[in-house]
């Protein structure tokens, strides 16, 4: 019975890989099987969405790739010198948060009220400890606050002004709200407000949308996996909305027994499908390979439901998967045997 169910699940994937009707974003750089477990492995993302070559100048593309490469450099240096996956993930994400190119930290999108509300989470695959923060307005690097929740509090999820108070008590840097401002995100809010139904706010995912969340998953030389994610959320969001990023099991999950996962996409769908935990469960309970499980969730579960987005994942053997069902996803990985950085679906 179990074998039969596996075959039924695997069939559409096999069809897709044979050039079936489904767009196959699992080609090229999206999968990196490892022959034997490498000393370390790390993957990052800077968000998925309507990322099309025709809308991005060569200069912008070079800038984004340089930022992704810089984050990979930072994480790889930690991992190569024997550092922990937790340090690698935190430092790579801090770099992406500090870059105005991505929707996290500086450069975060604006809420309906014209504010920035930042969410982040981190999980340790060895101990299954986790920390998450939601709705921060002054913390410069939300991923640091999430790590402090993991390490220095009995809690998992702290939010709003209370979470900010905790971060300040932990000595984490705060900034004035103007620090997060970027003209492009401000303009995006004005466009979203103009086009949204005034009664309900920005409810539909626009055809042209970038989920600019950032994330990182790393496997260190000790074999420990950490996953982390950070975001400004959704442009024009209201009512202190949280997406999947502060939700352990939705936007972030890690278990040394299987894999680490960081997601980017339409957060509401990623919560309802508990995407990050689902990948762990498909591997642990059904014995699926990382790339099969990741493709199954992104293309066979989320895409039919209308959930746009993608994920990055690293398994305990150093295999990497980076599937997405949107036109593009800023992404990259590094291992001792090589490195990859890409923006679009068709990139090799």
């Amino acid at each position: 019975m179990r074998t039969l169910r596996y075959l039924i699940l695997a069939l559409p994937l096999w069809l897709a890989s044979c050039g079936g009707p489904q767009p196959d974003n699992s080609a090229g750089g999206q999968q990196a099987p490892a022959a034997e477990r490498p000393a370390y492995a790390m993957a990052i993302h800077g968000g998925a969405g309507t990322i099309l070559r025709e809308n991005i100048t060569p200069e912008q593309e070079a800038e984004i790739k340089a930022a992704l490469n810089a984050a990979l450099d930072i994480g790889e240096e930690v991992l190569r010198s024997g550092g922990s996956s937790r340090d690698a993930v935190e430092q790579a994400i801090m770099y992406l948060e500090d870059s105005p190119l991505f929707n996290a930290g500086k450069g975060a999108v604006f809420t309906h009220e014209g504010k920035n509300e930042l969410d982040a989470s981190i999980m340790d695959g060895l101990t299954l400890e986790a920390g998450a923060v939601g709705g921060l307005r002054q913390v410069k690097n939300p991923i640091r606050a999430a790590r402090a929740v993991l390490e220095n509090s009995p809690h998992v999820l702290l939010t709003g002004a209370g979470a900010e108070q905790f971060a300040i008590e932990q000595g984490i840097d705060t900034v004035s709200s103007s620090y997060f401002f970027t003209q492009s995100r401000w303009d995006a809010l004005q466009r979203a407000k103009a086009s949204a139904d005034q009664k309900t706010g920005a409810l539909e995912t626009p055809a042209d949308y970038k989920f600019g969340t950032v994330g990182c998953v790393a496997l260190d030389q000790e074999g420990n996996i950490t996953a982390g994610t950070s975001t400004g959320g959704m442009t024009n969001k209201r009512y202190n909305r949280f997406g999947d990023v502060p939700v352990i099991g939705a936007g972030t999950y890690a278990d040394n027994a299987s894999c680490g996962v960081s997601c980017t996409g339409h957060g509401e769908f990623f919560i309802r499908y508990a995407v990050a935990h689902d990948l762990h469960a498909l591997m642990s309970y059904q014995g699926m390979a990382l790339s099969d499980a990741a493709d199954h969730i992104i293309f066979s579960k989320l895409k039919p439901a209308g959930g746009g987005g993608g994920l990055i994942a690293v398994d305990k053997n150093g295999n990497i998967a980076m599937p997405f069902n949107t036109p593009g996803m800023y992404r990259g990985y590094v291992r001792p045997d090589g490195r990859y950085v890409g923006l679009y679906a068709e990139e090799e």
Binding site: V156, I271, R272, H277
Partner: protein, 306 residues
């Protein structure tokens, strides 16, 4: 096809010797009222979503449980409540966290599911949404109970967040299978006594404290929320059924009696599957719980082996 409903009023250190006969009776009565409210919906062919919302509303209104009226106090002496609901047919979900003054947080969670494009709202923003909808509010007096206030004074004096299991947790929840074969789950809580820093537990988190999927089961959890968040407990029960082929009872026991016990997470859950089977495992000393099916009298229980 028949209907099934299960409810809980929290798990924890519930000792027979510490309960008066009157207290026991009050808890049994409240659980039975909730079961009656839910089965009244189900027996008429109503939806599982309606039934769990009704049952949890009754439990929120009962002062003996830590949800709605009778919610525990935060460090600042306030009530910050969390709730969630999920429909197993559509996999739609709604959740709210840290709402104040709202009589029935579960109804706001339902409104988030049905009347907003979001899944998870919190704090003042969630309350702004509740006010736009005109959901009933109440003054702090309404939520006040002497027992919970006393617990806050004790926790403050000991300078601890109530994480030591010396008190029962008291979250409430309901899971249902309706006559149409649809599942739903709802959960509501006041959280931890003396909590601060905008802490949110598992009750507001889809997949952790609450989950429903017609393919597998509906689950509502109660316990040490941080461990339930880390274990993604409610969805894990579903995954073990769907991916590992376990029965509801096997999956629920694997999660509560093996995985959560190993991690250190005290508590329990209630679950119903698509065939109407019920599982109510807990690894604490007791769990306020009850269940009902068509054509049978409702059953309520508090301690182990009842």
């Amino acid at each position: 096809m028949s209907y099934t409903l299960a409810v809980h009023g929290g798990a924890g250190t519930i000792r027979r010797t510490q309960m008066t006969t009157e207290q026991e009776a009050a808890h049994h009565d409240a659980l039975r009222l909730a079961l009656n409210a839910g089965t009244a919906v189900l027996s008429e062919g109503g939806t599982a979503v309606d039934a769990v919302a009704r049952a949890v509303t009754v439990l929120e209104n009962a002062p003996c449980f830590n949800a709605g009226r009778g919610a525990v106090f935060t460090h600042d002496g306030r009530h910050e409540m969390d709730a969630s609901i999920m429909c197993g047919r559509t996999l739609e979900a709604g959740a709210v966290a840290l709402v104040e003054h709202l009589k029935n947080p579960v109804l706001l969670a339902r409104a988030v599911m049905e009347q907003s494009p979001y899944v998870f709202l919190s704090g003042p923003g969630a309350m702004a949404f509740a006010r736009e909808l005109g959901l009933p509010e109440a003054s702090p007096d309404y939520f006040f109970t002497p027992l919970r206030h006393e617990q806050l004074q004790q926790a403050r004096a000991a300078k601890k967040i109530q994480l030591d299991h010396s008190d029962k947790f008291g979250t409430v929840g309901a899971v249902a299978l309706d006559l149409h074969g649809n599942l739903a789950a709802a959960t509501s809580t006041g959280g931890l006594t003396n909590k601060q820093f905008g802490r949110i537990g598992d009750s507001a988190v889809i997949g952790a404290g609450n989950y429903a999927n017609n393919r597998t089961c509906a689950v509502s959890c109660t316990g040490f929320g941080e461990y339930y968040l880390r274990g993604v407990v409610a969805y894990d029960v579903s995954c073990l059924m769907e991916y590992a082929g376990l029965s509801l009872q096997q999956a629920a026991e694997r999660v509560i009696l093996e995985k959560q016990l190993a991690l250190g997470g005290d508590g329990g859950l209630i679950a119903v599957d698509a065939q109407g089977q019920v599982a109510l495992p807990f690894n604490s000393e007791g769990m306020y719980r009850g269940w009902a099916r068509a054509g049978a009298p409702p059953v309520t229980a508090i301690y182990e082996a009842e």
